[in-house]
C-alpha cells in the first residue's frame, strides 16, 4: 500500500492494541478412526496446518497429518467443516509455544 501523499517521511504506525490482543494458538485433536479422508480440512485450513498423509486408519482411510502446528490460531474452521466430527482444536494457554505441554480446554 502506498503511503498517503505528503507523509512519506511518517514512521510506520503500530496498532494501539497490539500489546493487548493476542492471536490465539490452537492444539489440534484428531479422532483418526472417525476420519474418512475427505480432505476438507487440508484444503480449507487458512494457514496450511494440515496435509494429506499416507497413513491408514482402522477403516483404511488416510487421516490428515499436522505439518505446521505452530501457526494454528484456533480459528475452528477444520472443526466446523469436517463432516465426520473427526477434528477439533483446543485453545492453548497464553504464552504456550504450541509445541509441547497440554492445552486448556476451551
Amino acid at each position: 500500500m502506498k503511503p498517503v501523499e505528503g507523509t512519506e517521511s511518517a514512521p510506520q504506525r503500530k496498532p494501539p492494541d497490539v500489546e493487548r490482543i493476542r492471536v490465539p494458538r490452537g492444539e489440534l485433536c484428531i479422532i483418526t478412526d472417525w476420519c474418512k479422508g475427505c480432505g476438507f480440512c487440508v484444503e480449507f485450513c487458512p494457514r496450511g496446518v494440515l496435509a494429506n498423509s499416507e497413513a491408514f486408519n482402522k477403516k483404511g482411510y488416510h487421516p490428515p497429518k499436522v505439518v505446521k502446528s505452530e501457526v494454528c490460531n484456533h480459528c475452528d474452521l477444520c472443526e466446523m467443516i469436517c463432516p465426520d466430527f473427526a477434528i477439533f482444536t483446543v485453545q492453548l494457554a497464553d504464552g504456550a509455544s504450541g509445541e509441547g505441554g497440554s492445552g486448556e480446554a476451551r
Binding site: 492444539e27 489440534l28 485433536c29 484428531i30 479422532i31 483418526t32 478412526d33 472417525w34 474418512k36 479422508g37 475427505c38 480432505g39 476438507f40 484444503e43 480449507f44 482411510y61 499436522v66 502446528s69 474452521l77 472443526e79 466446523m80 467443516i81 469436517c82 463432516p83 465426520d84 466430527f85 477439533f88 492453548l92 504450541g98 509445541e99 509441547g100 505441554g101 492445552g103 480446554a105 476451551r106
Partner: protein, 300 residues
C-alpha cells in the same frame, strides 16, 4: 501440537459436539466427502451459541440421507415418513407451543414428495426452523432426479441428462410466505452458523437452504470428482448478495451460486394470528392452548 484421540477418549477430551450428538451412534453413515455432517455441526454449534434450552428443542426429519439427522441429534427427535416431516412438526409444535421445532431434511423429501406441505407451512408462517440440505439429487435411494436437479445434470432416472426445470428454493419459500429465507453452501461454515444462530432466535417459517456435496451419486454420475471437488467449486463460484431479489437465485449446472440472507421480516406466526383472531372473536370465552401443551392433567 496435535493429539490423536482414540474413540473411547472422546468424551473425556470434551469433544465440542458431545452435548448435541448421540455419541453412542457415532460414527455416522454418511459417505466420505458428503456435506451433511458439516451442516449438522453448524446447527449444533448454533444451538450452543443461541443458548436455547436443549430440552425444549425437537428435531424432525423425513426420509433420505439428510433425514438421518434426526437419529444423530441428542434432542427429542423424530424420523418420520417421506415428505411428511413438516406436518409432523406442525402437530408437535401446535400440541406443545413452547417447543422449538427444527425440521432438518433433504431436497427430495421436503420439496418433491413434501412439496405440498412445504408451500402450506410457509404460507401459514408456521413457527418452524427448516434446514434443507440441497444436494440436487435423491441420494439414499441411489441417485434419482430431484425437483432441484439442475438442467442437463445426469441422474439414475435421467441418464441422458435432466430436461425438467428445477425449483429455485429461496424464491419458492419467499413467495409462499416464509418470513426468513437464506442460502449458503456447506463450505460457508461461519456464515451458515451465524444464520442458524440468528434464525433460531426468530419466529415464523425460517427457511435455510444449504447446498452440499453428494459425492457418491451426484458428483460421480456427473463426473464432477468427489465432495472435495464440489466444495472447491462452491468456493470458486459463490457470490454473497444479501437482500437479493429471489427471482435471480436460479441455479444452473455448475453455475455461480448466489448466497446470503434474502428475507428477514416480522410477520405473525400461525399461532399468533390464530390467538389474535380468536381473542377478537370470542373475548373472554377464548381458551388458548397453553405453551406447555394440551396434555390432560389428572383431575382425580
Amino acid at each position: 501440537m496435535s493429539t490423536t484421540i482414540r474413540v473411547d477418549e472422546i468424551e473425556e477430551r470434551e469433544h465440542p459436539i458431545t452435548p448435541y450428538i448421540r455419541m453412542d451412534r457415532m460414527p455416522h453413515i454418511w459417505c466420505p466427502t458428503c456435506g451433511i455432517g458439516t451442516v449438522l455441526k453448524c446447527y449444533a454449534t448454533a444451538l450452543g451459541r443461541s443458548k436455547v434450552d436443549l430440552d425444549k428443542v425437537s428435531v424432525v426429519s423425513g426420509i433420505g440421507c439428510t433425514g438421518r439427522v434426526a437419529g444423530y441429534v441428542k434432542m427429542d427427535s423424530f424420523h418420520s415418513t417421506h415428505g411428511r416431516a413438516l406436518p409432523f412438526a406442525t402437530g408437535l409444535k401446535l400440541g406443545r407451543p413452547e417447543l422449538m421445532v427444527t425440521v432438518f431434511s433433504g431436497d427430495g423429501d421436503l420439496i418433491g414428495i413434501g412439496g405440498n406441505h412445504f408451500i402450506h407451512a410457509a404460507r401459514r408462517n408456521m413457527d418452524l426452523l427448516v434446514i434443507l440440505v440441497n444436494n440436487f439429487i435423491y441420494g439414499m435411494t441411489g441417485g434419482q432426479n430431484a425437483p432441484t436437479t439442475p438442467l442437463t445434470a445426469r441422474s439414475s432416472t435421467m441418464p441422458l441428462g435432466n430436461f425438467e426445470r428445477p425449483f429455485n428454493l429461496p424464491h419458492l419459500a419467499a413467495t409462499c410466505g416464509a418470513s426468513y429465507v437464506a442460502r449458503w453452501t456447506s463450505m460457508h461454515t461461519a456464515q451458515m452458523t451465524r444464520t442458524f444462530t440468528e434464525a433460531i432466535k426468530r419466529k415464523g417459517f425460517r427457511f435455510v437452504e444449504v447446498i452440499a456435496p453428494c459425492s457418491t451419486l451426484y458428483a460421480r454420475l456427473n463426473k464432477l470428482g468427489d465432495g472435495l471437488d464440489l466444495m472447491t467449486y462452491y468456493r470458486d463460484n459463490f457470490e454473497i448478495k444479501n437482500q437479493a431479489d429471489t427471482r435471480e437465485l436460479d441455479l444452473d449446472f455448475q453455475s455461480k451460486i448466489i448466497c446470503g440472507k434474502f428475507v428477514d421480516v416480522e410477520r405473525p406466526t400461525f399461532l399468533e394470528a390464530m390467538e389474535a383472531h380468536y381473542r377478537g372473536a370470542l373475548g373472554d370465552r377464548y381458551v388458548p392452548m397453553p405453551p406447555e401443551g394440551g396434555m390432560l392433567h389428572g383431575q382425580d
